[in-house]
Amino acid sequence: MELDVGAEGPTWEDGPLTVTDFVRYQGASGDMNPIHHDTEFARKAGFPMPFAVGMRQAGVLASWAADWLGPENVRRFKVQWREQAWPGDVLTYSGAVTALREEAGQHLVDIEMTVTRQTGGTHLRGWATFAVPA
């Protein structure tokens, strides 16, 4: 595995998103907020339609990073949400190595990640640290 600073993970595409994708995550996580599947509820709250569960895409991003750098190696995973994602969106997951460090005898890899909508807008940004074998 090439892990110099700037090395990029293989890009993923996810979508077009459906309300079923949101419901599947909601059932798995227990977060049943109706704003993600009930159109009438979402409209009353001022949205045109239900929108994606932010934690779902955070989870997909974590899946992406785990496939790249190893599920057991993750030591820190952080996301910040930017614009909403909507049914029909096609999201692109990508990221690159920003630093290689050594701490307490462990080789650590810092990465920065983004989830981008088909419009070019940023749905979320992420930062993670993985401990990788030497």
């Binding site: 949205f47 989870g59 785990a66 599920p71 030591r75 995973f77 949400w81």
Partner: protein
């Protein structure tokens, strides 16, 4: 938002990392990684898996107490997980405790104060060692995000 909720703690709760839940969660976040959904024992759980633990607890485990939250104005702004070692494997029994770690205000870009609440949940194994920490940043805006 009442800043005096800073420091509030929920009652600790027991949490078993269940194999079936890990598999279901991994599928919902588009993973086919054998570490989560393979035929062998699950060596680890997905990095955001523990986010689901709060949704299955009783109100006594929540650190919010009687705090009046205007849910129409609440945004989940940021979420972080820290693992001192590999994330907990299926079958592990953990004890979790949630607390309101910080409450602070910032001026919003479009005017109006925003209140930030950082909610921390620590997950410990049977020996009392912290195996995971979750930090959620919740933002209460001065108007509903959809308006």
């Amino acid at each position: 938002m009442d800043a005096s909720i800073e420091g509030h703690r929920g009652k600790p709760f027991r949490l078993v990392v269940e194999e079936g839940k890990v598999r279901e969660f991994a599928r919902a976040v588009k993973s086919s990684n054998p570490a989560y959904v393979g035929e062998g024992p699950q060596a680890t759980s997905p990095a955001t898996f523990l986010a689901s633990s709060a949704f299955w607890q009783g109100p006594e485990h929540s650190p919010w107490g009687d705090a009046a939250l205007n849910w129409e104005r609440i945004l989940h702004g940021e979420q972080e997980f820290v693992f001192p070692g590999p994330p907990p494997a299926a079958g592990r029994e953990l004890t979790a405790e949630a607390r309101i770690d910080r409450v602070y205000e910032k001026e919003g870009k479009r005017g109006g104060a925003m209140t930030f609440v950082e909610l921390v949940t620590e997950y410990r194994d049977a020996s009392g060692t912290v195996v995971a920490e979750s930090r959620s940043t919740i933002i209460e805006t001065s108007q509903a995000p959809g308006s």
